[in-house]
Symmetry: C2
Subunit: 280 residues, 2 copies
């Protein structure tokens, strides 16, 4: 694919990894980064996540492809500040929520915009967490694509295919419902699990016994509070609903164990096993 | 270390991996396996987890070291059926609960017995899941060691050191409390998470979006219902107590989000982050 310039706002795990991966795939493209954190700017250049950084957002808005890789409330703010960009420019975001973002794009740039959510990440953040391969083989969701320009949509699909991603399309409402179950609610659970252990009398003695199961269950409890605050804020209703469903299941477990109904308890666990017939 | 013979009851993930790893470290030792599953017996021989299998438990009881690698209710049953073994013999179990096991060992073999819980495993089970390295670098808990014979305790410590494990000692009551938090309750959560997704209208559409976070959080929901039934049974009170603490935290999250108290929500997440100052 031919792409003259890519401007990335936010040089952390997501934006930094995208820059790094695309730079290897598109050696003739110019990559410009923007970040309000001075250390991030220096690190991004040192780690070669982008070719140069700028303090002027207009340099980013002049790029052929503009990538918004910042917390979801920041995405809405920045979109509303883009007054005018060339007709052919493409803007994408990498945010974990999609409904409020899609509902708040100024109509003047609606066709320029493609809402995307790459279903990848780690518990780490910042430029040092970025790595080539974060996107490879993962799924990316494109939302409300009927409102994006054809040229823009084609470019974005080309880019994600170049990154060897599996592209799925859905409306932003369904995305946010599903993302609550598959990502947002599990993050709330992981934070709650970490806090329940940390509030015990001697957490160190408990944590000394941690094996792979606990490590996996608590890994995402290391995620950035700032980033997750705005995700929970934007997807409040779906997150609370999905926690409701989860609590119902946990309470079913409690009841079965309290009543020592081990036949039903075993059946309940066998039902859970079936998830892995679908999740390969 | 010198060890003439090891008898392993249960040739699944834990017992099979122990056989495989020790065989490499102790090439002059004879390894005999016992399993009531015919396929497991064949697989264990094919995979060279043990040198031979027997249908006669007495062949196992004749070994210098007897390893009980079966579900925790089975461990209690088998211990109560061991009438007499040589004074120098050593018996260990690898079960996830310790209190009921320690409370139910016949006094005639109490000194022969060392209660151990290697804090390792995967969501898989059976001989095919066994691998050399399952134990390497992991922690093993030894419980109520004051009731074990000195020779037996020394042999078990030597064996776990040979496997490059980190040995911790504690009483079985504390073990079961801590294991509830670090292993049993997280398993209940993972099962509940899997079931909450599976009971939605279209789980496939949700699961299509699964990234690393959900995969990690739901991995142990693949664990064996038979094995976990007996763990939950034996550690009922501690499991229910720890779930109580977890639910309190999850409900704190719900309340903060409902009330849109984002300052406190961010602080709550930062508290959870601190787990990883301890869990390296």
């Amino acid at each position: 694919m031919i792409l003259n310039s890519v401007g990335i706002v936010g040089l952390g795990l997501m934006g930094g990894s995208l820059g790094l991966s695309l730079k290897h795939l598109l050696p003739n493209t110019k990559f410009i980064g923007y970040d309000h954190n001075e250390t991030h700017k220096k690190d991004a250049i040192e780690l070669k996540l982008v070719d140069k950084v700028t303090d002027n957002l207009n340099d980013i808005f002049d790029c052929e492809l503009i990538v918004l890789a910042i917390p979801v409330d920041g995405i809405i703010e920045i979109l509303q500040n883009i007054k005018s960009i060339p007709k052919e420019s493409t803007i994408i975001d990498l945010g974990s929520t999609k409904k409020q973002i899609c509902d708040n794009i100024p109509s003047s740039i609606r066709e320029n915009f493609v809402a995307t959510h790459p279903m990848t990440g780690t518990e780490k953040n910042g430029p040092n967490a970025a790595f080539d391969g974060l996107y490879t083989g993962k799924t990316v969701v494109l939302c409300d694509t009927q409102n994006s320009g054809k040229t823009q949509l084609k470019l974005v699909e080309q880019m994600y295919k170049l990154l060897k991603m599996n592209i799925i399309s859905m409306d932003s409402t369904t995305h946010d419902e599903n993302a609550a179950f598959i990502s947002h609610m599990p993050h709330a659970i992981s934070f709650a699990l970490a806090n329940s252990v940390m509030k015990q009398k001697d957490p160190k003695n408990i944590i000394a016994l941690a094996g792979g199961g606990f490590r996996d269950m608590s890994r995402i409890a290391k995620s950035s509070p700032a980033m997750w605050e705005s995700i929970f804020k934007q997807n409040k209703t779906n997150v609370l609903d999905s926690i409701g469903y989860f609590k119902k299941e946990l309470e079913a477990f409690e009841k079965l164990l309290e009543n020592e109904d081990f036949v039903a308890l075993r059946a309940w666990m066998s039902d859970a096993n079936k998830l892995h017939d679908i999740l390969k």
